[in-house]
Symmetry: C2
Subunit: 345 residues, 2 copies
DNA sequence: AGCAACAGTGCACACGTGTACGGTAACACG
DNA sequence: CGTGTTACCGTACACGTGTGCACTGTTGCT
């Protein structure tokens, strides 16, 4: 069990170790950091190491940053509007773990759609992060480094959006799974399928949306959209209003699980049964979907791998900013559960 | 719209501004930082400010930390086991916001129950945080600074546990609300009420647990406990097993909402109706409870206030480490919903 | 013995910022 | 004109670490 050190007892520095061993602080620094370089004899290296442990030496990150020009900090860009969604809590947690493995400390940087610039000042500039992982940032982050051909600080884009040139990206291919999902619905005899999303105007090139449209078009079926606000109560209300006005569709294809859960409530409020009357499908693969009254069919995303690879890409680019751009594609999985079960007669 | 600065174009420092204005960097530093001190004439202060903006100056945190001895970093202690629970995602988000308001950057430090020391090394020591906010840490964090009368680095304890001497704390009083909840259940005619929790052995002094016991004892009713693992599937299975063995109780009092949701599924699996057969109550007040098929009665915690006050306490202690210990108590609210509705005949 | 080669180490500076202290004008007053 | 006062500002050092270069001592070779 280690204890928090007492700051009244002045923190141990390289100099303290040096004085104790009657060597220079340079020697101590080399002994501790340059693990492989044969600049230091093995015997003194061992002595330094031992004393460092004895005295409880902890390197001072601020000083090290100043000397090396690296902070060891990585910022995670997230839309603050998306935080209540537990999908993003997962991303944050997994990313923390992956970063920690590589000795990076993650700074979560919540970006509001309304005040795009303020948080940017706070974290990216003020803390001089070594790199940025931008999750689902879309074109918004690109606008931040307009003018320069490449982003000045290493950026890795993650998630479904990947329209960013000049940036490493870890892409989750939802389109294939979404296509399967649509065929699955149609195979069950559903024809009036409504696409439910917020931000409808910005979805044109979004893979889920594209898959939805393509499959319907190929099958000669009509498309219909329901644009909803971000909060669950609002989604619930919107779905109710829609159904009351237009009658129940045969299926709802929801942009994410959070919406699907809210939509489910809206349907229940009207006494509509899932999947008997309306089939329901979400996207993300959050845990709650499994614990819904009617377990939810969803498109599960491989978040752990995404975070792992994103950190790897970032580390490599920090090491060598001139290396060629990398892109990884991870496939999402269609998970079929009861919410798209067969229709009862 | 501000852009990420280009690091190839060397970052602007105080010296650059000084050279441009033909003054010393000390003057620039004073002009920018000491807002009130009359050491600098208003005219030069204005000139410095303007040029700083023009050149896009951003202070270097590493250098500042080195000079001032403060990092501006605050660590948030969280049990990593608790992260999947969306209650903790809320805590994390709210705390971020509250910290940002006070110019602190939050480092989330996930502590595993199994490897208590490893993360401690990583964040608290390595990053020289100015303070720590320990949420639901319990005695675990106390063990970290054993020997010293006070923790060497400012610590604020938050949440329900508050048995930490020598530490500022923001206490959420769940006991009163839990007592109300129990009386509510008994008032509805429920007698066999089972307490569901993980970590049963460690709950003796826990307010929810105490309230449960006290009220039952006062009413001359029997108590019964169900000790469950942490994951939702496990809770679901445990509840099923319990009911199959002992028959359904009249109510389940769950240690948190996450368990309540899982317990609800377990009951459904057996065809048991809530609230008709079994009443169900949780604790935390997470959003999902409202969106359960049967909206869940719960004990809602005032998280936003808690985070706000915690950051305030921390800031004050950082300013003056010798000030007297502060404690704030926030009341939790019993939110009655359908899951404890009346019993149908 | 003389010299080269080399391993191991210390010296000195740099990173960017904050601040105690000393210095320099300008100005007022005797 | 000399002295004291005030208002500003610059000089110099400190924070803790990393690293190029110079330096020392030892070894090996002729």
């Amino acid at each position: 069990m280690n204890t928090i050190e007492n700051p009244n007892a002045k923190r141990i520095t390289l100099k303290d170790i040096a004085k104790r061993l009657d060597v220079s602080h340079a020697t101590v620094s080399r002994a501790l950091n340059r693990v492989e370089d044969p600049l230091i004899s093995e015997s003194t290296r061992a002595r330094v190491r031992q004393v460092a442990v004895e005295m409880g030496y902890r390197p001072n990150h601020a000083a090290r940053s100043l000397a090396t020009g690296r902070t060891g900090l990585v910022a995670l860009w997230l839309w603050s509007e998306a935080v209540p969604n537990s999908y993003h809590a997962n991303v944050s947690q997994q990313m923390h773990a992956a970063a920690q493995l590589r000795q990076y400390q993650l700074l979560v940087n919540l970006v509001s759609r309304k005040t795009l610039d303020a948080p940017f000042n706070n974290v990216f500039d003020a803390w001089h992060v070594d790199g940025i992982i931008a999750h689902e940032a879309g074109p918004a982050i690109q606008a931040q480094f307009q003018g320069t051909p490449r982003p000045p600080v290493p950026v890795v884009a993650t998630g479904v959006y990947h329209l960013l040139p000049g940036v490493d990206r870890v892409y989750i291919d939802v389109q294939a799974a979404a296509q399967l999902a649509m065929k699955h619905l149609i195979g069950l005899g559903r024809r009036r399928i409504v696409y439910v999303t917020d931000d409808l105007a910005h979805r044109h090139s979004e893979p889920r949306y594209v898959a939805y449209n393509n499959v319907l078009q190929d099958s000669g079926l009509p498309s219909a959209y329901l644009d909803v606000p971000k909060s669950r109560p609002a989604v619930r209300a919107c779905v109710k209003a829609y159904v009351e006005k237009n009658g129940p569709p045969e299926a709802l294809f929801c942009h994410n699980d959070d919406m699907a859960i809210a939509a489910y409530r809206g349907l229940c409020d009207l006494g509509i049964r899932v999947p008997d009357d309306v089939a329901l499908i979400g996207c993300d693969g959050i845990e709650d979907t499994e614990y819904l009254e009617v377990p939810l069919t969803t498109i599960a995303q491989p978040l752990t791998e995404m975070c792992e690879i994103a950190c790897q890409f970032l580390e490599q680019r920090i090491e060598d900013p001139t290396r060629p751009i990398q892109e990884a594609t991870l496939m999402a999985n269609l998970v079929i559960r009861s919410s798209t079960g067969g229709r009862s007669p």
